[in-house]
């Protein structure tokens, strides 16, 4: 690594909170879109489903605890390994955990208003970025450990692989045509080396449009 190249604003410590603020402002506003229009949340279906459970009246506990603990773990890990994991910290923490905490406390304004959502997200991002830079100044070069980030990365990828087969099974349990569609879609996507979850959903939707799932 050439030391001379890593100088200036774009590489500086204090620019980091600004980048985090941009990203988390967008992510929080994405959750605003989801809350108002039911589209645009920056997270996986599995995790958005937890927030949805809360919106539908089932309590925000799961989403809040899941989001907040991921945020906590990633903010601790980020400065130690030099890479902040945006999936856990911002997309799940700021995008799902914090909104769940706010909604459970009856604070709907930051999620109903677009400008307010942008500002809230940016402020939260600034705080997180500043905390990380602060931790860095105290611990830099003190820890030679990656704190198992490789283990978690492996597990995260492995867990994601289960979603494809789960969707096919779920489609088969929904109805016979939808199940056939999902199976074929998954097979086609696998053949073309694409993640099979996408193929299964598209296959299920095409067959489901022709033969709607009977209401229970």
């Amino acid at each position: 690594m050439n030391e001379g190249q890593t100088k200036g604003f774009w590489y500086s410590e204090w620019a980091f909170p600004l980048f985090v603020a941009c990203l988390s402002s967008g992510i929080f506003a994405g959750t605003h879109l989801y809350y108002v229009y039911h589209v645009g949340a920056f997270n996986d279906i599995a995790i958005v489903a937890m927030l949805e459970a809360g919106i539908k009246g089932g309590g925000y506990g799961a989403a809040a605890a899941f989001g907040a603990s991921f945020l906590f773990a990633r903010v601790l890990e980020g400065p130690l390994v030099g890479i902040l994991d945006i999936g856990g910290s911002l997309q799940t923490g700021i995008g799902i955990g914090v909104p769940a905490l706010m909604l459970s406390a009856g604070m709907t304004a930051p999620l109903l208003s677009f400008p307010l959502a942008l500002v809230t997200g940016a402020l939260l991002g600034l705080i997180i970025g500043a905390v990380i830079v602060l931790i860095r100044t105290f611990t830099i070069n003190a820890a030679k450990s990656t704190f198992g980030a490789d283990v978690m990365m492996g597990a995260g990828n492995a867990a994601g692989r289960y979603l494809g087969p789960l969707i096919v099974i779920s489609a088969i349990m929904a109805s016979i045509p939808v199940g056939i569609g999902a199976t074929i879609g998954a097979a086609v996507f696998y053949y073309f080396k694409k993640p099979i979850a996408g193929g299964a959903i598209i296959g299920a939707m095409i067959l489901g449009a022709m033969f709607p799932i009977p209401p229970q």
Partner: protein, 262 residues
């Protein structure tokens, strides 16, 4: 009208997100000297594409279809928009003109500016087409996806993380098992606990009991106590072992605004 509002807001959101992701991804190549932002898997995948614009583009494209299916079905863009599509497509655009990764992919300024453009386009495209899909097809996707997603959260993810913790060594396995079990009890899902268990176990393996690991363990213990209290786990525990809940504890919960059922 609604579609226009969504498209307009999506443009702003996409630009902000793309800017942050681009800068963060480029800074990852200079970690740990410079604090980066993204994910280890993103970093690995960006390296795996070896600066070839076609590889970067097609890698992103695979996830684009997945994200599209997901946003149409459930309104969720997937984490892959930030993790994979935006960084890889931004990289592809930059590398198309200049094959030297050090002047493109590793440059936070270029990645941030091009990222903002890519983000605005991708997010707007995904969000506005999702609203144009007929209601009946959205219903199918939701009916198929929601059960699958619930299975993934519980029990698939806890099992996968748990096994990874146990395979990573004895200390990680023990911490992962204990914190995982407690986390499933207190927070309703084992994954956060297992993640923290891996964090502590590996930290201890690599550097032993020092200031950082001690702070970590203290913080984790506090996290468990606080979330246990705020989810009224203490009351549920006492009730399940048939001990009367003392009045002071009920009063304490009421002080923080939560009502305890006797």
């Amino acid at each position: 009208m609604v579609t226009w509002m969504i498209a307009l807001k999506s443009m702003v959101i996409g630009a902000l997100v793309g800017f942050g992701v681009g800068a963060g991804a480029a800074r990852m190549f200079h970690a740990p000297n410079v604090q980066g932002m993204g994910a280890f898997r993103t970093f690995g995948e960006l390296n795996a594409c070896a600066g070839d614009p076609i590889s970067h583009f097609s890698f992103g494209l695979g996830f684009f279809f997945n994200a599209w299916a997901s946003v149409v079905g459930a309104g969720a863009l997937t984490q892959d928009v930030d993790h994979r599509i935006l960084p890889n497509w931004t990289a592809a655009l930059l590398l198309w003109k200049n094959k030297n990764v050090e002047e493109t992919l590793h440059d936070p300024k270029k990645m941030a500016i091009v990222g903002a453009v890519v983000g605005a386009v991708v997010v707007t495209l995904l969000n506005s087409t999702a609203t144009a899909i007929p209601q009946s097809m959205q219903l199918v996707a939701t009916k198929v996806l929601v059960p699958a997603a619930n299975w993934l959260i519980n029990p698939i993810m806890p099992i996968v993380f748990w096994m990874a913790a146990m395979d990573a060594g004895k200390r990680t396995g023990v911490w992962g098992t204990v914190l995982g079990g407690f986390s499933h009890l207190v927070m309703g899902n084992a994954v956060p606990g297992i993640v923290l268990g891996i964090l502590i176990g590996k930290g201890l393996d690599d550097s032993g009991w020092n200031r950082i690991t001690k702070t970590l363990v203290t913080a984790v213990v506090l996290l468990f106590i606080l979330s246990g209290f705020f989810r009224a786990f203490d009351v549920a525990l006492l009730k399940s072992i048939q001990v009367d809940v003392p009045q002071w504890l009920i009063d304490l919960h009421e002080m923080f605004g939560s009502v305890v059922n006797k």
